[in-house]
């Protein structure tokens, strides 16, 4: 196992940060909030609460999935964790270091422990750089590398992601989508990070290429003991990749469970609806009429309904749901934010009865 603190490239790891970690969690996010100003009227600023009271932690070597539809705040959460958008409140701790309250060189050093894989393999590579320059960029930001170190690093990374060494002088537009994503992964590995945030890493790729990239990510994880924060809207991919899953809706986590609990015994009505909405080759023609349906579209994020955010689409909402926002509660394996889980009748039954 290649422990990140003893990596060959050196210089990337803050030695002071490695001790004094009592918790085994690599990343801890607590009550994270992100808001965007969406205009002001009569001097009163209006905000869009993109991420609201989000807390989770990721253990070393595991994959945490964030799922949800567009506008659920999953990507914003990831960007805030990586300090690529600024958080309004909350704390993010990476390996014992407070990420939100550092700056300058300290922040740059911390960023090397946490890298990003982007969704769009076309816009995420600088078209003016050669593949090798793209991959080395995070390292050269820290200082000049010797030519031999560069060569050795490039060859090692290209081999790790399945690119051929003779391709390193090519420009991004000379690669296919899947190969570009491999370059993006090699770039993320360059600094020997501990945490990699994968933001919809395969949703822009063709299905045949998706499986290549997903297998690559799983192989790299087991070889290097990597920790993934994996963001996706595709429940099939999440089921395959993630050890624990947080389901987000309109900026909040509505259900948080390990893989088996979430997919075998989903609790929140939204999770039920999501799972049932995924088209599958096992459901045949006409299945569209038998699934659990949730009506309408997600609400306007600036004017959320009072009480539970899902209330406007929930088929089993009661009065309490309109007045009181449910909080995440449950066991260590599975937590749910829904008033109706406490009832003796299971949610699945309630939904089936309509």
């Amino acid at each position: 196992m290649n422990h990140p603190n003893s990596n060959a490239d050196g210089a990337l790891v803050d030695p002071a940060a490695t001790d004094a970690v009592t918790d085994t969690a690599l990343l801890q996010v607590q009550n994270l909030e992100v808001r965007f100003q969406v205009g002001s009227r009569f001097g009163v600023k209006k905000y869009l609460q993109a991420v609201d009271q989000v807390s989770f932690s990721i253990q070393r070597g595991e994959t945490l999935g964030l799922v949800g539809e567009s506008g659920s705040g999953k990507t914003t959460t990831a960007l805030a964790v990586a300090r690529l958008v600024s958080a309004a409140a909350g704390s993010v701790t990476l390996d014992g270091d407070d990420l939100l309250n550092c700056s300058g060189d300290q922040l740059r050093a911390l960023r090397h422990k946490m890298q990003f894989i982007f969704q769009d393999p076309y816009s995420s590579l600088n078209p003016r750089l050669r593949a090798e320059q793209v991959v080395l960029e995070p390292l050269t930001n820290l200082g000049k590398l010797s030519a031999s170190t560069q060569l050795e690093t490039i060859d090692r990374l290209f081999a790790a992601v399945g690119l051929r060494p003779e391709q390193k002088r090519l420009f991004p537009h000379q690669f296919s989508g899947g190969q570009r994503q491999r370059i993006g992964i090699a770039r993320a590995l360059a600094t020997n990070p501990e945490l990699i945030i994968c933001d919809e890493p395969v949703s822009a790729l063709d299905v045949a290429v998706q499986s290549q990239i997903l297998n690559l990510l799983r192989r790299l994880q087991s070889e290097r003991n990597l920790t993934y924060l994996f963001i996706s809207h595709d429940l099939g991919v999440v089921q395959h990749m993630c050890d624990r899953v947080a389901v987000m809706y309109m900026g909040r986590i509505v259900e948080f469970a390990d893989r088996k609990s979430l997919f075998n015994t989903p609790q929140h009505p939204y999770t039920h609806a999501l799972l049932s909405a995924v088209p599958s080759i096992n459901k045949r023609r006409g299945a569209a009429n038998t699934r659990i349906k949730i009506p309408g579209d997600p609400p306007d994020p600036v004017n959320l309904p009072s009480g539970c955010r899902f209330v406007s689409r929930c088929p089993i909402a009661i009065d309490r749901c309109r007045q009181e926002e449910p909080v995440l509660a449950g066991s260590a394996q599975q937590q749910v934010a829904c008033h109706r889980v406490a009832e003796p009748v299971p949610i699945r039954q309630l939904l089936a009865d309509g």
Binding site: R108, H112, Q115, Q167, L170, G178, Q212
Partner: protein
């Protein structure tokens, strides 16, 4: 073993030549015949202006013959003007000055424009507010009037004329640079560099700016042409350095005789016309070559 398998998985025949995007643009440019012809014309004009006065050392200010000697007669290829000065010598010497002013003024506006536009587009917020208000202030000034005031106040020296032209024409570059920065700063490769620990300085100058350059280059090329025209306009109004010959200066000084000896005005006018047209065509060619949407076609 797993590594070998992955390599085999991506096995496909394409390992094309690593062609730099700039080289592709160059190839594209040379496929555009109008632009290539214009480039050749422009090179001829530049060569004429640079080496012409060396091989044709007649002083353009010296009276060499009787005034108003028509072109081709009495031994002067382009004739003489109202003071009996050799027009060919004036065209060659004036070309140097006109092109130099054009280049220098364009360089100056590109420099100011990129600085203002890049900072505004990158930092957004109050930086952008202030810089763009500043840009708008220069944009609403009547350009010809403003430069006339500058030249009238500080004297009609060559650097001052260049400065006057540059100061009124950088706003277009600033706006283009800003809009390119606004677009590119949101692209994921910029976020990738940021998360890779790049400093703001690096993001601005070595990540975003090279990708923002194509439209700026096109604008700069066109600006050389418009600066030459601008200088001619100022000279025509008599606001030029009387001790340096330029194409506008020839037109301006021969203006009273436009009906009696039209060639004294037509010949420098043609020189300006051909040069500016050639620059525009080269600019167009650059635009097509540097525009990736057209290239994909």
């Amino acid at each position: 073993m797993a590594g070998n398998k992955a390599v085999a998985n991506t096995a496909e025949p394409v390992v094309g030549k690593a062609r730099h995007p700039v080289m592709e643009a160059v190839a594209m440019f040379f496929g555009n015949y109008a632009a290539v012809v214009a480039l050749i014309v422009l090179l001829v004009i530049i060569t004429g202006a640079v080496v012409g006065p060396i091989y044709y050392p007649t002083d353009p200010f010296e009276m060499v013959w009787a005034p108003f000697s028509p072109p081709g007669q009495e031994g002067f290829l382009l004739g003489t003007d109202y003071l009996g000065r050799d027009i060919l010598a004036a065209i060659l010497a004036g070309g140097r000055v006109s092109l130099a002013i054009g280049l220098a003024a364009a360089f100056m506006s590109v420099f100011i424009g990129i600085t203002v536009g890049a900072l505004a587009g990158f930092y957004r917020g109050w930086v952008e507010e202030i810089l763009m208000r500043f840009t708008e202030f220069f944009q609403v000034l009547p350009t010809l009037l403003f430069s006339m005031v500058i030249v009238a106040l500080f004297g009609a020296s060559l650097p001052m004329i260049t400065f006057a032209i540059g100061i009124v024409s950088w706003t277009a570059v600033a706006r283009i640079t800003r809009s390119e920065f606004l677009r590119i700063r949101e692209l994921e490769y910029v976020t990738a560099s940021r998360s890779g620990g790049a400093t703001n300085f690096k993001l601005i100058f070595s990540v975003i700016l090279p990708n923002a350059l194509p439209p700026i280059i096109v604008q700069a090329a066109l600006m050389v042409g418009s600066a030459i025209l601008f200088e001619a306009g100022l000279s025509f109004l008599g606001l030029s350095d009387p001790n340096t010959m330029s194409w506008g200066q020839i037109i301006g000084s021969n203006r009273p005789y436009i009906l009696d000896a039209s060639y004294t005005v037509t010949i420098p006018g043609l020189a300006i016309f051909i040069t500016v047209l050639a620059i525009s065509l080269v600019g167009d060619g650059l635009n097509d070559a540097l525009n990736p949407k057209l290239r994909r076609r």
